[in-house]
C-alpha cells in the first residue's frame, strides 16, 4: 500500500487515448451532419432529428470521455458507480441537444452563440466531472483549482468554436465534404484537449479510510472498452446512414414536388403549350392548347404539329420556315416570336404568336412551343390603325376647309371692308352722329375679321403650304426675321442679340416666321424699359433647344399652356393688338419640325420662349464648330 498523502503515479494507455480522439472526430462529424438535417427538417421530423441527434452525439462525447478515463491508469483498482455514470451520459446528451438546437436556428448572433456555448460547455464539463465522481477507488481525488477552471473555460471556448463551425457548414448538402471533414477534425481534436486538461486537474492520493460506497460499483474490463467502442461506432454508422438516406429522400421529394409544380404551371398557363419530338410529333398538349385549337389532348398527341395548326392554303414565309424547321429541325423560326395564321379544328383560321425553343435532353432533341391567340390584339390593332387613318383624314379635311374658307371669305369681306371705309370717307360728318358711330363699328368689325382670316389662313398654310424640310441655317432665318421687324424695332428701340445658331432641318420660311412671331411678341409685350431680346441655341442630347428671351411684361404661370391655343388672348385689344393666332402658328410650326414649344416666365421680369428642333443627321460638323466657337468665346 502506498502511504497516505503520497500522490499516486498515473499513466496513460496511448492506444486508448488514440481511440478516444478518433471517436471525438467521428462524433464531431456526425454532429455537423446532424445539424444540417435538423435545420432542413420540419415539424415532427425536426424534433425526431433533434432527439436522435442529441442522443447519438451525447453518446459519442460520453464514450470518448469514458475511453479517455479508461486510458488513465492508476496503480489501484478502479471501479465505477453506474448510476453516476448514467447521470454523466444524460449531461452529455443534454449538452448535445442544446448545441443542435442552437445551430439549427435560422440565425445565430453572438449572444445566442455565447449562451449556447456556455450551456454546451457547461454540460460537457458537468459530464466530465460527474464521470470522475463515479470513480470508485481506494484513493482521494483532489482538483487543482486553476486547471479545473481552465478545463471549464476550454469546454466553453471549444463549444463556441464548434457551434460557429457547425452553423456555417450545416448547409453543405453533400454527405461528404472537405470543409466538413476539416471542421470535424478541429472539433474532434478540441474535445479531448478539454478532457485531458480536466484529467490533469485531478491528483489522486491514497485514501485514509477505505469505507467507500461500492453498492453500485462495477468493474470495467478490456471487454467493455471494446463494447463501448463498437456500440459507439455502430451508433455513428447508423446516424450517418440514416442521414444519408433522409437526404436522398428529401432531394427526391423536392424534385418530385418541383416537377409537379412545373406541370401545374404549364397546365394552368394562359398560353397554349405544345411539346414536340424531333419528328415534329406532338408529345405534350396543355389545357389551353385544347381551348385554342379546339382539340383534346388525346386527339393531338402523336399528330404532326404542322398539319394540325397550319392551314393548307397559307404559304407565307413564316409558314414555309415552320415547315422547313419541322422537316429539318433548324431555321429562322427557332428562338423567336413569330406571327402566323393558325387553324382551329372547326376549320376557322385565327392569328397566333408562336415561340419555339429547341431543347437538347441528353442526346435527344425536342421542342417546346408556346402559342398565344392574338385575335383580340390584332382586332384592336386594326381598329387603332383605322381610327388613326380616320383622324388623319379628318384633320386634313379640316385644314383644307380652313384654307378654303378663309381664302374664299376674303373676297366678300374685302368688299364689305372697302365700302364701309369708303362710306366713312365720303359721308363722315355729313349724316348724323349715330351714322358716324355705326360706320366706325362696321369698319372696325370688318378690319378685325380681315385680320382674323389672314391669321387663320397663315395658320392653315403651316401644313397645307409647308415646304419640305431642308438643311437650313437658323442664323440666316433669324436675321431675316429681324430684318422684317426693323420698323417695329427702331420705333421701340429694341436691341436683339443673337448667339451661335446651328444648321437644322427646317422650312426656312416657317423658321423665319417662327423667329419673327417670337421676337415680334417680345417687342409688343414690353415694359417701360427698352426691350432687350436674346436669341440662343444649346444642344441637348439629340436636339437643339432654341430660346428667345425678353425683359418684357412676362406671363403668369396659369397661362403658360393657354397662350399657345388658337384665338386665346390675355389682353384686351385696347392694351395690345392681335388676334391670338401668332403663338398657335409658332406651335404648329415647331410641331411640324418634330419639336416642342413652351414658355418660362416671371411676371414683370420677362419671358423666355423655348422650342426644340431635332438635330439634323448631317450637322455633326456644325455641332463641333458650334462647340468650338462657344468654347472660344
Amino acid at each position: 500500500m502506498t502511504p497516505p498523502g503520497m500522490v499516486l503515479a498515473s499513466s496513460y494507455d496511448y492506444l486508448l487515448v488514440a481511440l478516444s480522439v478518433i471517436i471525438a472526430v467521428l462524433a464531431s462529424y456526425a454532429a455537423l451532419d446532424l445539424a444540417g438535417r435538423v435545420t432542413s427538417a420540419r415539424g415532427k421530423a425536426r424534433l425526431l432529428w433533434l432527439c436522435g441527434g442529441a442522443m447519438a452525439m451525447g453518446f459519442g462525447i460520453w464514450s470518448m470521455h469514458y475511453i479517455g478515463m479508461l486510458a488513465f491508469r492508476l496503480p489501484v483498482p478502479v471501479q465505477y458507480d453506474w448510476p453516476t455514470v448514467s447521470l454523466s451520459l444524460l449531461a452529455a446528451i443534454l449538452a448535445s441537444a442544446v448545441a443542435l438546437f442552437v445551430v439549427s436556428r435560422h440565425q445565430m448572433g453572438v449572444i445566442r452563440a455565447s449562451l449556447g456555448s456556455i450551456l454546451m460547455g457547461g454540460g460537457i464539463a458537468a459530464m466530465h466531472y460527474i464521470g470522475m465522481a463515479a470513480m470508485r477507488l481506494p484513493a482521494m481525488c483532489r482538483y487543482s483549482p486553476s486547471l479545473f477552471l481552465l478545463s471549464v473555460v476550454l469546454a466553453i471556448v471549444i463549444s463556441f468554436v464548434a457551434l460557429w463551425l457547425t452553423f456555417y457548414f450545416r448547409t453543405e448538402t453533400t454527405a461528404w465534404s472537405w470543409r466538413k471533414a476539416i471542421s470535424a477534425l478541429v472539433m474532434g481534436a478540441a474535445i479531448p484537449i478539454m478532457h485531458y486538461t480536466g484529467m490533469a486537474a485531478a491528483t489522486f492520493t491514497p485514501a485514509t479510510s477505505s469505507h467507500q460506497d461500492l453498492s453500485h460499483a462495477v468493474n470495467v474490463s478490456s471487454l467493455s472498452v471494446v463494447g463501448i467502442t463498437i456500440v459507439t461506432l455502430m451508433v455513428f454508422g447508423l446516424v450517418l446512414l440514416t442521414s444519408l438516406a433522409d437526404r436522398r429522400f428529401s432531394i427526391q421529394a423536392l424534385e418530385l414536388e418541383s416537377s409537379r409544380r412545373h406541370h401545374q404551371i404549364i397546365e394552368t398557363a394562359l398560353d397554349a403549350f405544345v411539346e414536340m419530338d424531333s419528328d415534329g410529333l406532338i408529345t405534350n398538349w396543355n389545357a389551353r392548347a385544347e381551348i385554342t385549337f379546339g382539340r383534346s389532348r388525346s386527339d393531338a398527341i402523336g399528330q404532326p404539329f404542322s398539319e394540325i395548326i397550319i392551314p393548307h392554303q397559307y404559304c407565307d414565309a413564316h409558314t414555309q420556315g415552320l415547315r422547313r424547321f419541322l422537316a429539318t429541325g433548324e431555321g429562322p423560326v427557332l428562338n423567336q416570336r413569330i406571327e402566323i395564321t393558325a387553324l382551329h379544328r372547326d376549320g376557322s383560321v385565327f392569328p397566333i404568336e408562336l415561340a419555339i425553343s429547341p431543347i437538347l435532353w441528353g442526346k435527344r432533341r425536342f421542342y417546346a412551343a408556346f402559342v398565344r391567340d392574338v385575335t383580340e390584339r390584332k382586332r384592336a390593332e386594326q381598329e387603332l390603325a383605322r381610327r388613326a387613318e380616320e383622324l388623319a383624314r379628318s384633320n386634313a379635311d379640316l385644314e383644307q376647309f380652313a384654307y378654303v374658307a378663309s381664302h374664299d371669305l376674303q373676297e366678300p369681306l374685302r368688299m364689305v371692308a372697302s365700302y364701309t371705309q369708303l362710306l366713312g370717307r365720303r359721308y363722315q360728318g355729313k349724316l348724323d352722329a349715330d351714322a358716324d358711330e355705326f360706320i366706325a363699328f362696321a369698319v372696325d368689325g370688318a378690319t378685325r375679321m380681315q385680320q382674323l382670316i389672314q391669321d387663320l389662313l397663315s395658320f392653315s398654310r403651316v401644313t397645307t403650304k409647308g415646304k419640305e424640310l431642308q438643311l437650313t441655317d437658323s442664323r440666316a432665318a433669324c436675321d431675316q426675321a429681324i430684318a422684317n421687324l426693323r420698323a417695329a424695332m427702331s420705333e421701340s428701340g429694341t436691341v436683339v442679340t443673337t448667339g451661335s445658331l446651328p444648321t437644322v432641318r427646317a422650312d426656312a420660311t416657317q423658321l423665319t416666321q417662327l423667329f419673327q412671331n417670337l421676337i415680334g411678341n417680345a417687342i409688343k409685350y414690353r415694359n417701360e424699359c427698352k426691350p432687350e431680346v436674346q436669341v440662343a441655341a444649346t444642344p441637348v442630347e439629340d436636339r437643339w433647344v432654341f430660346s428667345v428671351q425678353d425683359n418684357g411684361i412676362g406671363i403668369e404661370p396659369q397661362y403658360f399652356e393657354r397662350i399657345f391655343q388658337m384665338f386665346q388672348r390675355l389682353h384686351t385689344r385696347k392694351q395690345y393688338t392681335g388676334t391670338g393666332v401668332g403663338l398657335a402658328i409658332c406651335r404648329k410650326i415647331v410641331e411640324r419640325h418634330g419639336g416642342r414649344i413652351w414658355v418660362e416666365s416671371q411676371p414683370g421680369k420677362g419671358s423666355a420662349f423655348l422650342f426644340t428642333i431635332p438635330r439634323a443627321e448631317g450637322e455633326t460638323n456644325d455641332f463641333k464648330a458650334y462647340r468650338n466657337s462657344a468654347g472660344g468665346r
Binding site: Q410, M415, S418, Y419, Q421, L422, T447, Q450, Q454
Partner: protein, 144 residues
C-alpha cells in the same frame, strides 16, 4: 399731245371691285374715260374692234385682273402681247393674287407691271394715286 382725256380699259369681273377702282381713281381726282369689261373674250373683242366694238376707242392703259370668266387674264395678257397692234399698250396687272408663280408668269408674258390689290382701302387709294402719277402723268405713252 392733245388735252383729250386719257382712255383706260379696266377688265374686272367683280362689279364691286370695278366700282371700287373707279371710285379710287375718282378720289385721286383724275379725269379719265373708263371702259369696264367683265370677261377676257369681251376685252379682246373690244381691243380688236370686233363685233359690237367696231368703233371702240383704243385705250392708253389697260388694267387687267387675272381671274376672269371665259378667257382668263393670263391668256388675255399673252394675246395682247402677241398682237402687233396691241402690244405697245401698257398692261398693269391688278389682282388679289400674291402668288409668286402668278407674278413670274405675268412678267414673262411682258406685263408692264404687277400690282397686288391691298385689302385696306387707304392703301388701295394710294395704289390708284400711284398709277395715276406714274402711268398717266410721268410716263410718256405712245400715240395710237
Amino acid at each position: 399731245m392733245t388735252s383729250r382725256p386719257i382712255e383706260i380699259l379696266l377688265v374686272e369681273d367683280n362689279p364691286g371691285d370695278a366700282r371700287l377702282t373707279l371710285e379710287a381713281f375718282k378720289e385721286a381726282k383724275v379725269i379719265n374715260n373708263f371702259t369696264v369689261l367683265s370677261d377676257g373674250v369681251e376685252a379682246l373683242a373690244y381691243l380688236r374692234r370686233q363685233g359690237v366694238y367696231a368703233k371702240s376707242v383704243q385705250p392708253d392703259l389697260i388694267l387687267l385682273d387675272l381671274n376672269l370668266p371665259k378667257k382668263d387674264g393670263r391668256e388675255v395678257l399673252a394675246e395682247i402681247k402677241a398682237d402687233e397692234q396691241l402690244m405697245k399698250t401698257p398692261v398693269v396687272v391688278l389682282t388679289t393674287s400674291a402668288a409668286e408663280e402668278d407674278i413670274a408668269r405675268a412678267y414673262s408674258r411682258h406685263a408692264n407691271c404687277y400690282i397686288t390689290k391691298p385689302v385696306d382701302l387707304d392703301q388701295f387709294l394710294r395704289v390708284a394715286q400711284s398709277i395715276e402719277s406714274f402711268w398717266l402723268s410721268l410716263v410718256k405713252l405712245p400715240l395710237h
